[in-house]
Amino acid sequence: MYVAVKGGERAIENAHAWLAEERRGDPSVPELSLAQIREQMALAVNRVMAEGSLYDPDLAALAIKQARGDLIEAIFLIRAYRTTLPRLGASVPVETANMRCDRRISATFKDAPGGQVLGPTFDYTHRLLDFKLAAEGEVPAAAKAAAPQSGPVPHITDFLNRDGLIQAEERHDATPPDLTREPLEFPANRALRLQSLTRGDEGFVLGMAYSTQRGYARNHAFVGELRIGRVPVEMEIPELGFSIEIGEVELTECETVNQFAGSKTEPAQFTRGYGLVFGQTERKAISMALVDRALRWRELGEDNLGAPAQDEEFVLSHADNIQATGFLEHIKLPHYVDFQSELELVRRLRAEAEAAAQEAAE
């Protein structure tokens, strides 16, 4: 229990003023603009949007600036802002098959229809520090192909699905539960699990995914397809009586093709894991797909091996870095009364022990 105490107003004010000064840093160094953060720290902006659960690059850039680059603090700011927004409605589910892909790779089919498109990736870089970036300089222009990447690219899993080689996803538009409106309860269905994972902490979800690869509920994932690009977002407008595009978002989608299941009555079939995350957030999307797959053990008739990644209560209750931070950091608030009582208890126990030792010695 922590206790409200009064006093310290001036100290708090002064601390905030100092914080503002430290945030600015050396005034002889030019100040960062929000546009600079948005354009040049784009992957940080993407992470803040994904885990802040609000797609708005300018706001995410502001949050990063305000938080001095502490991304979890920035996510906290976005989550707090998000709660002040009136909810205008929900979109029609986005069609990732219509994505205009910047990147699209498959680890399962070399000659995937639509091709392997690398996009602006860190892959194949040597991970050596590039000291040219320390000096200002012109960036060489990206190459452009004569013919642009054409039209929508079909999902890889469609090909497997056509032959019944992979478990089908049943299409329906029932309103999914929303954990920002109703507190998460267990058992959670897959819609809630996916919502929780897509806004979950990247590090935590990555760790959970990695644990499945190392053997804790291993499910032999292949990246069937990873795609990054923009999709239009449509919403039904009641006053118009039809749906319109209200914008577009950049998304990363990962579909894993996993170890097959089969039985005496059903022929063997691959299974799926799914990751879909705001922004270019590849590590997170792959991690999400692996954890989604691990959490599906019950519906796929697999054994619960007692692995952490199979335990939805464990995974979903600890994936949210804002909840975690809130509880973790509250212990630095004044716990004077609690601590006083513990201190007294320890003193008493020690005194009793000393007295007992004395008695035994006599």
Binding site: L54, R87, R103, Q116, V117, H172, D173
Partner: protein, 143 residues
């Protein structure tokens, strides 16, 4: 261009591009608000496996408004982000497209805007296409 299309274009267009073309159009019709600009969130949904049941992905910011021109035409603006002026201009364009000035609005604003948006898309698609992998198989020698 249908109403659905121009509303989508206005929603997605960069605010500064729309503003530049709006100024070029040089119109200042009288109007009254039916709903002054309001910033809100829309829950974006995805589908499991890209094709299956819906789930909630996260929200995006959207600004909307509605106005009625003095002539009576009603315009709706729904734009991505938090720019109230963009929403107002979008609603204005939507209303004007229903009246006598439609041809001019289309020629001066909507068509150039569509060209700009498409050009930005094409430039990105051309860069993506340049990173497409062309596989070739190394032929194993016979001897």
């Amino acid at each position: 261009m249908y109403r659905r299309e121009w509303m989508g274009l206005l929603a997605r267009a960069p605010a500064d591009a729309l503003d530049r073309l709006w100024r070029k159009l040089d119109l200042a019709p009288g109007y009254r608000w039916l709903r002054p600009p309001e910033v809100g969130g829309v829950m974006v949904r995805g589908r499991m496996g890209g094709t299956g049941a819906a789930f909630n992905l996260g929200e995006m910011t959207v600004t909307r408004c509605a106005l009625a021109l003095d002539g009576g035409a009603v315009g709706h603006g729904y734009v991505q982000g938090r720019d109230k002026r963009q929403a107002e201009q979008a609603a204005m364009v939507d209303a004007l497209m229903q009246g006598d000035l439609a041809a001019r609005v289309r020629a001066v604003l909507l068509e150039p805007l569509a060209v700009q948006v498409q050009a930005a898309r094409d430039a990105r698609a051309a860069k993506a296409a340049a990173t497409r992998v062309e596989f070739f198989t190394l032929v194993r020698g016979d001897d």
